[in-house]
Structures are given as C-alpha cells and as structure tokens.
C-alpha cells in the first residue's frame, strides 16, 4: 500500500523588538547569564506585566504578510504549568482570541498551506543541565514570540522545506524577526501522521521537536514518515507522543514524559487589558509593509526579464533585492546588474548571514555608474567585470580604474587593421577556420582583444574577422 504524509507546523519566531514583551529588558542574544533580567521577567512577587506596543504591531505585520485576518478584539491569557525555566509558573500567551487567524502561504506547486492562527507570547528562560544539576538563566525569559500554527496541510517534506524557507524569507523581509534557527530565534515543531493514499481520515500523529535547521526538519520528517509506515505495516499502532530529533543519528526518540498531566488551565490574565485593533490601524500597518518577495520576484521576471532562478536569488534576502532595486535605476537592461550581483558580488558574500546583511564595499550607486558606462558603450563587458573586482576590493568608484585610453570605442579603420594584423600573423588558424573549425576564430579574436587591450567589442571583432577572411 502507498502511504501519504500529513503534517502541520507550529513555528515559534522570536520578534526583533528592542525590549522584552512585558518589561524594558533588552532582547539581545546571549549576554552573561541573568544580566538581561529585572524583577518583572524573573517573576518576583508583586511585579506586573506591561505589553510592548511593538510586539502587537510586529504580530499584525506577520499576520498581514501571511494573508491573515486581524482580530478586532484580542486578549492575553495565562497558560499554567510549572517548570524551572518559567519564572511565574505560567506563560502569558493567547488562547481563544489570538491576534491573527485564517491566513495562508502559497507554495510553488500551487498548494496553499493554511495558517490557523498567529498569537503572541513570552519565551521561557534557558536550562543548562550539568553534573546532574540544573542551572537557570532567565535572559531569554520574556523575549517576545509569535507562534504560527498551520493546518495539517503538508503532504511532503519538500513542501515543509519550502514553507519554512518562505516563512523565514517573509519574516525577514518585513523585519519582524531574523529567524535564525541556529540561535533559536526560529523553532519548528512538526506534527506528523501517515494515512493510506486516498484516505481522508487522519492517522495518529506524533510531534517532533528539537530540529535546529531546515535540513534536519526534512530529514526528521522523512525518517518519521518511514518509521510510522513501518509501524503500521508491521501491524502496530502509532502512539501519540512527543519525539525529539537527534541529528547525529538521524532518528527520533520519545521525549521523557513530563511529570504533569497536560492541563494548562488557561484563563484570561487579569493583569493585562483588552487589545483592540481598529480597521484603520490594520490598513495603516498594511500600507507600511514592504513589497513581499513573491510580488517582487514576479516583477523582476515580468518587467525586467530576469530568469526565474536569478529572480529567486535576488529576492531571497531583502537587502539584496533592495541593492538590486537601487542599482538598476535608469538602466536599460537590469539583467546586466543582476549578472554582476549574482556572479561577482555573491562570490564575496557566501554565508546566509552575510547575504542577509549584504554589506558590500561597492554601493548600488557605484555599480549603477559602472553599468551605465557599458550601456553607453564607453567600456566593454570584460573590462567592466575586471573593474568591478577592483571596486569591490577597494570601495572606490569605477572611474578610479578606467583611464582615458580605455574610454571610447575603437573606430572601424583601427579595428580593420587590428583584425588584418591578426589574420596575417596566424595563417594556421585562418586555415583551420576555413576548413570548418569555428573554434579557430577564438585564437584570432584573442589576438585582437590583446591588441586593443580589452577595449574592442567581441561581437564586432568576430563580425570583422569573418568579413576579412571572407
């Protein structure tokens, strides 16, 4: 029998606010233990939470960017459970009136992943288990999170990969989170079940936690799919449980059951008041959202004739696309700019983090100036490429590397005499070309380019050579 995978995602995304959700402590990553803390975020008796306005705004932005409806009335609830990393023994979250609901993210295969809800909540502290004891650091306690919950709409690990990448991309674009899985600012839990293909009934699901990269998510899902199919095919039953993914062994294993029964006793937090969001506010926030990557990609392809693959590369990171947008101002053929970015510049910004920041020595204006020189036929592509490398090394304008003699084209008589001289000094190549070896022309072309010190336009040289050889 063939089986189908059914999966849903719960993704926690740390918001990029300056301060925590309920107090003024910094959200900076790391820091010495318990130095980003105050009476409120370590839950000292008598302290009260006060909601960070920016958290609500960022959550609404995330909701709008994922096609959600924004609740006119929302409220904060307490989720009660005792754990050493939770300083108040309850997490302030949203239970039955989340800020955002009913959104979706569309995948490239046309399928829509429905988003059930997005709500705001606080992160817990960090536990370090060493020498059998537990050390608690509350720096991360109270850092704002949004939890994005999807319907069980995934049918393959590839869809999951695309979803997570898209979610990351969107959140980074709108600037609400850096979504770094390694640093824990994006964490995914996946619910998985399997069912015979064609069946409508959902199987028993397991939940996988602890995957700190997209590759791990994919591997974990693939592993868990196979495992569940094996269990069923061997006549067993999948047990509903929470699993931990171990990337060293690429396996999932049952997490030690918490001592508690799971009854969170949600109730409205009496220390916080209602969150009302007017339709005007929603529209104002919507109007401030940057162009989302999907729209941008479409525009690059349709308006600029950028190949789809390149358009994807350009729009993956917001900074890159902004660089591109600025560099193509008044450029006739934006593809030239795109080629320079993807070819020359990307070689220098290799890591994801570097691309995210996209701190390039050459400004988009400087690149724009260089490409304009090509379009004005002042310099040739080859020279421009060489010049860009020098610009990237130094941060200087292109004019610093192009001297007077490089400028301007080569007139026809000079070109004719250079070509004639190349033909005269390479009789073998001429003979080869005449006998049908088209490649032989390259030797002649090289000779002319050398004579012109790269200034000659290769297309014109080729045409002239063919004309002269006859």
């Amino acid at each position: 029998m063939k089986y189908e995978l059914v999966a849903g995602f719960e993704t926690h995304v740390e918001l990029s606010t300056k301060t925590k959700i309920f107090c003024g402590c910094t959200t900076a990553f790391g820091g010495d233990p318990n130095t980003h803390c105050c009476p409120i975020c370590i839950g000292l008796p008598g302290t009260l939470p006060k909601l960070n306005r920016q958290v609500v705004k960022y959550a609404i932005m995330a909701g709008l960017a994922t096609n959600c409806e924004i609740a006119e009335v929302a409220k904060m609830d307490r989720k009660n459970y005792c754990y050493p990393d939770l300083s108040k023994a309850y997490q302030i979250s949203e239970y039955d009136k989340p800020l955002c609901e009913h959104g979706f993210i569309q995948l490239s295969n046309g399928r829509k992943i429905r988003i059930l809800r997005i709500h705001i909540e606080e992160d817990a502290g960090k536990l370090i288990h060493a020498h059998g004891d537990t050390y608690v650091d509350y720096n991360r306690g109270g850092v704002p999170l949004i939890e994005i919950v999807t319907e069980p709409d995934f049918r393959s690990a590839d869809e999951a990969r695309e979803y997570v990448e898209k979610l990351q991309q969107i959140m980074r674009y709108i600037g609400v989170s850096d979504c770094r899985m390694q640093e824990g600012s994006m964490r995914c839990d996946v619910n998985i079940s399997v069912r015979p293909e064609g069946s409508e009934k959902l199987g028993t699901r397991t939940e996988i936690k602890n995957m700190n990269s997209i590759n791990n998510i994919v591997k974990a899902m693939e592993y868990e799919f196979e495992r569940q199919v094996d269990v069923i095919e061997n006549g067993g039953k999948v047990i509903q449980e929470t699993l931990r993914y171990d990337d060293a062994t690429n396996t999932t294993s049952s997490m030690r059951g918490k001592e508690d029964a799971n009854d969170y006793r949600y109730f409205r937090d009496p220390d916080l008041v209602t969150i009302l969001t007017s339709r005007e506010e929603v529209e104002e926030i919507r109007s401030m959202l940057p162009e989302l990557p999907e729209k941008k990609q479409e525009r690059y392809i349709d308006e600029y004739g950028i190949p789809e693959k390149d358009a994807q590369l350009l729009t993956k990171y917001r900074k890159v696309s902004e660089y591109f947008d600025e560099a193509i101002k008044d450029i006739k053929n934006p593809k030239t700019v795109s080629n320079f970015i993807i070819g020359s510049i990307f070689r220098r910004v290799e890591t994801e983090k570097d691309k995210e920041e996209f701190a390039v020595a050459t400004s988009p204006k400087q690149l724009n100036q260089l490409v304009k020189m090509i379009e004005d036929k002042k310099i040739q592509n080859n020279l421009a490429k060489k010049t860009l490398e020098q610009m990237l090394d130094t941060g200087k304008d292109c004019t610093a590397f192009i001297d007077e003699s490089d400028l301007g084209g080569i007139d026809d008589s000079a070109l004719t005499s250079m070509c004639q001289s190349a033909i005269d000094s390479n009789p073998n190549a001429v003979a080869d070309f005449k006998s049908g070896k088209e490649k032989a022309l390259m030797a002649l072309l090289g000779n002319v380019m050398k004579q012109s010190r790269g200034k000659a336009d290769a297309q014109s040289v080729k045409a002239k050579l063919i004309e002269l050889i006859g």
Binding site: K18, P33, T35, C38, K50, D137, D260, A261, L272
Partner: protein, 92 residues
C-alpha cells in the same frame, strides 16, 4: 461529586503533596466548598462574557530599553546559586 482521584489530580497540577491520611478529610472539605460554589449553577446571567473590570483596552509600553538589574541583585534571594545561575541541585 469531588472524588479522591480529583484531589490527587489537582494536587499534581498544583505541585502539592497531599498525605494519604489527609486525602479523605480534604476530599470532604472540597466537596463542601464545591457544593457551596454550586449555588451559582442555576443563577441567571446574561451569558455575556466578562471583560476586565474597568473595560480598559490598549495599555502599552513603548519599545525602549530600560537598564536591567545586575545579576547579583537578580540572584540575591536565590536559595542556591552557582556561576551566576539559579541552581537546582538534582537531589540532597
């Protein structure tokens, strides 16, 4: 009807131990309290959900960093601490 199992279950959720010998007494007391609370079961109400007492909304703070406390202060009242962390020894 409050049962012994109810009491055991809520004791676990409350992170409280209830001694075996106290269980019956506590079940009885809770039954009495719950019966007293049951008075509301038949009370007429509008069914309207209660908001917060003064109907306040949109009370926010701005996203401006306030200096945190030094970790010595944060850890000052900790029954046990080590290496700038709150410490929970696994057992004593």
């Amino acid at each position: 009807m409050v049962t012994r199992e109810d009491i055991e279950n809520i004791a676990i959720l409350s992170k409280l131990f209830v001694a075996e010998e106290d269980l019956d007494k506590l079940t009885e007391q809770m039954q009495e309290i719950v019966e007293f609370a049951d008075a509301i079961n038949n009370a007429p109400d509008s069914g309207e959900e209660f908001d917060n007492i003064n109907n306040l909304s949109n009370v926010f703070r701005e996203d401006v960093v306030v200096e945190s406390f030094p970790s010595e202060e944060i850890l000052k009242n900790a029954p046990e601490q080590a290496e700038d962390h709150f410490l929970v020894r696994n057992h004593t």
